[in-house]
Symmetry: C2
């Protein structure tokens, strides 16, 4: 049994991402602290972000718009132009920040890329994800970048078809059970779950399902060993 | 000589788009008219938009951020939270607006789709373009949607490879010489130019090149006749 294509999630699978959002939220809280207390700001921002997902999708630009709307609301319209400008500048910084790879990622990707075609399969903003891959220094190891609006069973089936890979020879690796693992298994593919400290609440499942249908490794660097043990390596 | 795949631009090729932006700019000008005159607002917005393209890319969300930055600048920071909220609401309206097809598009797409696989090949925001295709009612006629960050020769070569179509059997149809026609011809494909009233200044070329390497039709509905005349129809 072999794998013809390995698809990898990016954020908090290959590189740190959640921490960038945590820092941004901290800075936002400080920016609007004269209007409201931190806990209220957090819950209002969460609420506005979730409400905006359908309109604005995932990514930094939508987050900036949600910060601005939250600031307008908690300040009852008193937020100043200068403060709004600081929120936009914060977004621009997030988009230009250096990308920090997770431990063991670079060596593992180099090693995998010499054996398997790799694709980046991620939600989010197209431009943001493409430039993140470029800034990560890993761009040359990937044969394609697929940015999708939703990661569900249908999405994975479409990616398999488009790359002409039968489900049994497709492997997805990521840090979200909800988006990187369960829909892949439902589509007939293999999935490896690499838990991350930073998985966004929205991506978590209330209860982790039993591991009968997917594998779990503790660190990304364990992937080659797992492939070998599972009889999936060439 | 036959065509294996037809790729189509969306905005102002299949559906009205430029007019949506013109209306939005008019509304923005009115929103900030107490701070600055229309001509200054226009030129400042243009300048900020072009500067933001590298950070925010194409699409409504980036446009909203550019409107807000323009408002902050022309008002010297005096823009109010309520006014900023109106700019965000304007963006949300743009994203949810009904999609109006250009004349003859629906019949032509139906007819073409019965003979050729069609894909939508467009720049812009992924979520925005996918929902626009859905709102257009044409989604079922397309086998794939490719949203790209740049439409250049390399992009077209990649799309041809990914769909396993030799350049000589690939046809692109769109309203921008700069993005839909010349890079396709450079990549060895066929291209048909359908001029539009609404082509954004940024997409225009200073001088239209001579038509030795691509075809030009006046209306989208002329496409089937052109395919036949060019010996490209099945």
């Amino acid at each position: 049994m072999l794998v013809d294509l390995i698809a990898l999630d990016g954020d908090d699978t290959l590189w740190h991402d959640g921490v960038v959002w945590t820092v941004a939220r901290d800075r936002f809280r400080t920016l609007v602290q004269r209007y409201s207390n931190g806990a209220l700001v957090d819950s209002k921002l969460d609420e506005i972000e979730v409400g905006n997902l359908a309109h604005f999708g995932y990514g930094v630009k939508g987050f900036v718009l949600s910060m601005i709307e939250t600031a307008i609301e908690v300040s009852k319209g008193a937020v100043t132009g200068l403060e709004v400008q600081q929120m936009i500048d914060l977004g621009r910084e997030m988009l230009a920040r250096p990308v920090q790879l997770l431990e063991g990622v670079r060596e593992t990707i180099e090693r995998l890329a010499s054996v398997y075609p790799l694709i980046l399969l991620t939600k989010g903003d197209l431009l943001d994800q493409e430039t993140k891959l470029a800034r990560s220094g890993l761009g040359d190891f990937f044969s394609a970048v697929e940015v999708v609006t939703e990661k569900n069973q249908e999405t994975y089936a479409r990616v398999m078809r488009r790359h002409r890979v039968p489900p049994s020879r497709f492997l997805m690796v990521g840090n979200s059970l909800r988006f990187d693992v369960l829909p892949v298994v439902a589509a007939g593919g293999h999935a490896v779950y690499v838990p991350s400290e930073s998985t966004w609440a929205h991506e978590r499942l209330p209860d982790e399902p039993s591991e009968t249908t997917y594998a779990r490794i503790d660190r990304f660097g364990d992937l080659p060993r797992w492939l070998k043990a599972a009889g999936l390596s060439a």
